[in-house]
Symmetry: C3
Subunit: 208 residues, 3 copies
């Protein structure tokens, strides 16, 4: 069951990688490589920092979702593209699953709650960051019109607080994932955003 | 002997890094750093994922090829540049050597054949990917006019299939490397390419 | 005491990350993430290569400097910006501290002197490299008008030579850090630079 959720997350993020490959005019192999990097990248970075063999390399099932993602985009690209809303929903589901499962894995490996929160966030946003960096694009987590990282930070922190308080188990993990998922969708619907890196009292012109 | 082949691969990839540094107007130290990153980058990522101390850090000989590459470009840049064909041949040799040696190393560390194939491909294309990412350029493995990654994927997969079938040893490894090398050169000569990330039945205009 | 120096280095580099976030128009969360990546990135790469749990994940104190850096830029950005000289001084201090402490840590982990030098340089320049790569900017260590990496290379090499000669201890480490710091400031004051990646006898036009 956790494996299934994880593979679904890899697939959702993989589709976003294959779509970016399509937009940049890459070929089908580039699409597959970018889908794979996006899907498993966050978890690989987490596991390397934990000093463990990355899950995606220990289990060949992880190779299937990126292949499906690249094929889906190859055969149905404009359709997938037009379905922008479902894609954002899938991506939000991946974000929610990865930030909770990543934090739990780090806590189980003996990380302190702060480090575990950071690794949960890394798992959730790392794949998308690598996708954009490798495709030579300013990462979308830095887009100030959006608060992509905030629900992941809150969710990972909440999982860490619950762990310290002795509250854990699958049910609670799914509850947090549902909260992250809802926050992400609400943030999109109501265009929530946070202040810029410089306070609003500074004129942009002053910064160069 | 395997060390010699590996150092040759580091040198060939190192030259490509130093040439990119020259084209981007970096200084000689930037050239050395980029040559080193390109030459050893793929192997370092492989070894970090395998949980081992990277070969390039265990053996100081690996420092020599990037220095030679940076000096070669410094003293003979337009000459090296004009020799575009030899450079592609060298790069193909590096690709062939790294994809077989990387796959073998991963199999010897106990990776499953799928993960070993991926790590062989990572060894072969990782250095060039890091070179382009760090120099702020869309990676050339994503260039749709070329099939850079395909011979490496086939070669790494072939090594893994042979390993599972009980066929291994230096002779076979060199045979696979020769196949990868030939495929790469043939792909350049006949301008082989694969379909784009989206099927040809979609108009580009539909994708935005 | 070494922890304090390290946290100061994280803070100085963190401020440079938050300032780049401000210039690129990222929001406050992006500023925090970029400050954190810049501050701890070099050390994390070093520790991953050494096969150890990164210091920044073992000790929650490392979370404080990036938060302070992001807040400082948020509340005082144009002020911080105008203080360009102090910022360069802080950055030089971070560079000096990280190149010596990184080399020492690698030597203590049993790395050979060449690898330890490279890891010291990686610690010193890695965070800034990741900062620029992630913000989709050509890394400033490749700027040919500057010799950012040279003092770090000399300092890390000097620490390694002294270690081999049996000279170590806090006092000597601080002496080397002071030398690196002074070299960096002198290089800025007198606009020292090194030759480009191609010898001066080649016309730029020949390189394309």
């Amino acid at each position: 069951m956790p494996l299934l959720f994880d593979l679904l997350g890899v697939f959702f993020f993989g589709v976003s990688g294959a779509l970016l490959a399509a937009r940049r005019g890459f070929d089908i192999i580039g699409s597959l490589l970018l889908a794979g990097l996006t899907g498993i990248g966050g978890g690989v970075v987490r596991d390397v920092i934990l000093g463990e063999v990355p899950t995606a390399f220990a289990n060949p099932f992880y190779f299937i979702p990126p292949i499906l993602a690249a094929l889906l985009v190859f055969f149905m690209a404009p359709g997938v593209q037009r379905l922008k809303r479902p894609l954002l929903v899938f991506d939000a589901a991946g974000l929610a699953l990865f930030c909770t499962s990543g934090t739990i894995k780090a806590l189980e490996s003996g990380m302190n709650p702060f480090a575990a929160t950071l690794l949960g966030v890394t798992t959730a946003v790392g794949g998308g960051l690598l996708r954009d960096v490798v495709a030579n694009k300013t990462p979308s987590i830095f887009d100030p019109r959006d608060i992509y990282a905030v629900p992941a930070i809150l969710g990972a922190g909440l999982v860490a607080v619950m762990w310290v308080s002795g509250v854990h188990g699958w049910v609670w993990e799914l509850v947090v994932a549902a909260v992250v998922f809802s926050l992400r969708l609400l943030s999109l619907k109501f265009r929530w955003h946070v202040p810029k890196a410089v306070g609003p009292w500074h004129h942009d012109a002053e910064l160069q």
